[in-house]
């Protein structure tokens, strides 16, 4: 019975290993700057201390909204991934069409300049 959980054990092991490797590489190879912006809890431009009712630049909302969309649409790739072998070439083409539809949205966003930060 316990054997069926081995894959999960492996997954956990590799996830931990990957985390350790990435952290140690950045410790070994990275250049350390212990000052200024690096000291703040969030490095995304939000002040951690102060009034919480400060207006945040609208660009953040824009990115968040776009993120929701593209993040969730990828959900359709999961069921396809599970049975991609059975679906064969037909399923693959369908998925390519789906990704192209997402790409149309992406090009529209680029064209509108919604991703320009400044």
């Amino acid at each position: 019975m316990i054997e069926v959980y081995y894959p999960i054990l492996f997954l956990g092991f590799f996830a931990a290993l990957l985390a350790v490797i990435m952290v140690s590489i950045s410790i070994l190879l990275g250049r350390r700057t212990d000052m200024g912006k690096k000291e703040e809890p969030y490095e995304c431009g939000v002040e951690p201390v102060g009034s919480t009712r400060d207006p945040i630049p609208v660009k953040f909302y824009m990115v968040a909204i776009l993120f929701i969309l593209f993040d969730i649409e990828v959900i359709f790739l999961y069921p396809w991934a599970v049975i991609s072998r059975q679906l064969g070439l037909f399923g693959f083409i369908e998925m390519v069409v789906f990704v192209i539809i997402l790409l149309v949205g992406y090009f529209y966003i680029l064209g509108r300049g919604a991703l320009k930060w400044d």
């Binding site: 059975q86 679906l87 399923g91 149309v104 529209y108 064209g111 300049g113």
Partner: protein, 482 residues
């Protein structure tokens, strides 16, 4: 293993939808490329015309695809033609209005086409999942279109109110679908009909509560009382061509789905007829009485659209093919003269500082005798005077109801029609007989809007003189699906 490449997936069924989607994508990608943006109305128009031709081509073709989720029948094709015609008329009347209000962005045309595509998916669906998907594809662009005038607080407000009410209704609809699915184990409409007898015990309760929630959801979408409160605000706040589109397009799509669901699908639930009786009577009466005290024409037309939805709901209480074909006839007729009335309003609002209040109409007929007569004709059609098509719409609907013995419902309907005469004729009274308080700023025409006026005028009068042709078409359209 299922053969996914077999004929069960037939993209020819979705030809019109694909044409609309392709044109919308083209607009989105090229809209902000320099100098190509001006082409977007043209691209949208071409897409709509292709969709119209493909939908006409599907007439007489009876087939089902995508594992029974999409059905191509005459009922669906007829509605597809109606939707594309409405969208084309909206496109023609919108262009100059949007330029005048500096709202002429490529997105409008893309959203219009995507929304029309959603309506088509709705009309073609024989599966609750596809139906829900189509409804959302239709509604999401509409929310944005209502709030499109970003700098106008009224438009913002209309958009957010429409969004909140629409999302709320969608949630009810989804919960209803979940319960129907739980009761029967399927979302396929045909299996819902045939497997009805296997639903027993607790599952019957699930089915009934599910159907009730679906009814609430669509009640919001078509604006039946008591789920109508958003309609006047949204119609008043949205840009006028968008309102013209709202008042006929989504309504026709909602009724198409309701016809499939409640005349074909859940017809075996006997209580539904009584429910629709009450809904129809309430919707007619509240719509007409509230319309009496409006001072804004757009708001008045909003309440009038509620009242007209009430007349169409009579067909659901009655059931049977003569009532359903009468409802289809009424939808086409209403789409024609309502779009015409809004086209006149669009012309009037293309002047600066005009908000479509009744008082702004005074002096209209002296300066523009023809245009004001056209508006008067549309008002007569909305009342249901002969020889306009509005008369025959009401006539067929009421006579179908009388044949099935719904005398009291018809009495309420006729009394409501008398009430409605007051507020429709008020438009005529103000524009023809009232003393102008300030000078009437002349209207400037554009070729596109003249085309819209001519089409709607020809339809209102022509079908009023030869109503039998349209009735024959709608009868043969529902033949396949009953």
């Amino acid at each position: 293993m299922i053969d996914y490449t077999s004929a069960s997936i037939d993209f020819a069924l979705l030809g019109p939808e694909i044409a609309l989607l392709a044109s919308a994508f083209l607009i989105l990608v090229t809209g902000y490329v320099k100098s190509l943006g001006k082409l977007s109305p043209g691209v949208a128009f071409v897409g709509l015309v292709i969709a119209l031709v493909l939908s006409l081509n599907q007439w007489g073709n009876q087939s089902s695809g995508f594992f029974g989720m999409v059905t191509c029948d005459d009922f669906g094709s007829a509605f597809k033609v109606i939707f594309t015609l409405i969208a084309i008329l909206t496109l023609l009347m919108a262009h100059r209005y949007l330029s005048h209000k500096s709202l002429n962005r490529p997105e409008f045309y893309a959203l219009l086409n995507i929304s029309t595509m959603g309506m088509m998916v709705m009309a073609n669906s024989t599966d609750l999942v596809v139906m829900f998907l189509g409804l959302e594809i239709m509604s999401l662009p509409l929310y944005v279109m209502a709030g499109m005038a970003r700098r106008s607080p009224e438009s913002n407000e209309a958009g957010i109110k429409y969004f909140v009410m629409g999302a709320f209704a969608s949630a009810f609809l989804l919960m209803g679908i979940a319960f129907v699915y739980g009761a029967s184990g399927t979302t396929d409409l045909r299996r819902l009909v045939t497997d009805y007898h296997y639903i027993v015990g607790n599952f019957k309760l699930y089915l009934y509560s599910g159907v009730a929630m679906i009814l609430v959801g669509f009640g919001f979408k078509v604006g039946a009382v008591p789920f109508h409160s958003w309609i006047p605000d949204v119609y008043e706040g949205a840009p006028t061509p968008v309102t013209a589109f709202f008042s006929v397009g989504p309504k026709a799509a909602g009724f198409a789905v309701l016809l499939r669901l409640f005349v074909f699908g859940f017809a075996y639930i006997g209580l539904l007829s009584d429910v629709f009786w009450v809904l129809a009577a309430l919707t007619m009466t509240v719509g007409n009485i509230m319309a009496l005290r409006q001072n804004n024409i757009k708001r008045m037309l909003a309440y009038s659209s509620i009242a007209h939805a009430g007349y169409i709901l009579i067909a659901f209480a009655v059931g049977g093919d003569s009532a359903v074909s009468a409802a289809m006839f009424y939808l086409v007729a209403y789409a024609l003269f309502n779009t015409g009335a809004f086209a006149v309003l669009v012309l009037l609002e293309t002047r600066t500082g005009c908000k479509s209040d009744f008082s702004e109409l005074s002096g209209f007929s002296r300066l523009h005798p023809y245009l004001s007569s056209v508006l008067a004709l549309f008002m007569f059609a909305l009342c249901g005077f002969p020889p306009t098509v509005g008369f025959f719409g009401k006539f067929y609907l009421f006579s179908a109801a009388i044949q099935s013995g719904f005398i009291w419902l018809v009495v309420i309907g006729v009394m409501n029609s008398f009430v409605s005469v007051y507020y429709y004729l008020r438009v005529i009274k103000v524009s023809f007989f009232d003393q102008p308080q300030q000078t009437f700023v002349p209207v400037t025409y554009s070729p596109a809007i003249i085309v819209v006026l001519l089409i709607t005028l020809a339809g209102t009068l022509g079908l009023g003189l030869f109503p039998q042709q349209l009735l024959d078409i709608s009868q043969s359209a529902i033949f396949a699906f009953l």
